[in-house]
Symmetry: C2
Subunit: 106 residues, 2 copies
DNA sequence: CGGATACTTGGCGAGTTGGCTAAATAGCCA
DNA sequence: TGGCTATTTAGCCAACTCGCCAAGTATCCG
């Protein structure tokens, strides 16, 4: 057994994995504009509430969001606002690839 | 059918998904210090070369790295240097969660 | 040419993900 | 209490991921 990867990469990958889904990315983007309850997010995502609830649980376990029960509703909000910084770079990567594809045209 | 998620989230999620694996994160981190050939990365990752090659192909398709064959070797390098900005925020999320867990101790 | 080295591709198996429906849980109000 | 609404949990299944080994391709060199 040569080298075990530093556990730092495992932990970082776990956070990225939590973000690596269109619905979860949408949710994070939406929460960057303020807290939302599960039913609001459910309407916007366009999936079953149980599915959205699972996505939120996953984001919570990854340490990206936190929740807060008020009456019969549960409100979620971002725990680490800088999460949105991701988007800038992800967009840069995408535009880069788009440009490449255009150039290739072979 | 209520709302289809903007395709922007799908594309962004694809990039994050490519990064969301410990070995690939390690590779990207390593490439941020300069180009490397597959055999160098293989030694460092500690997996079969075929496995590392597959990770590199995946990163290439995501538009994160590009390659360059020189003789019998293939060198990979980052296509979008800002990819490393991710790490700062991912680390912040992780420290945030670590703190939470410490506080909870219930 | 044949052989060695560097890499990629194909295929398989174990494990994970993500969606759904149905059932359970919790809070509010009559 | 019962009924209604909001949410989570459980269970199922199809699809995907990731590792390995084996086989294929490409380049260099003798």
């Amino acid at each position: 057994m040569p080298h075990p990867l530093p556990s730092r990469f495992k932990a970082q990958a776990a956070v990225l994995k939590a973000l690596a889904h269109p619905s979860r990315l949408f949710i994070v983007d939406e929460l960057s504009r303020g807290e939302r309850c599960v039913c609001e997010l459910t309407d916007m995502v366009g999936a079953e509430m149980s599915t959205v609830s699972k996505h939120l649980t996953l984001l919570k376990h990854a340490g990206i969001v936190e929740d807060d029960k008020r009456g019969v509703q549960v409100f979620y909000r971002l725990k680490t606002p800088c999460v949105m910084n991701f988007f800038q770079c992800v967009t840069a990567v995408r535009q880069n690839s788009a440009k490449e594809e255009e150039l290739q045209t072979r």
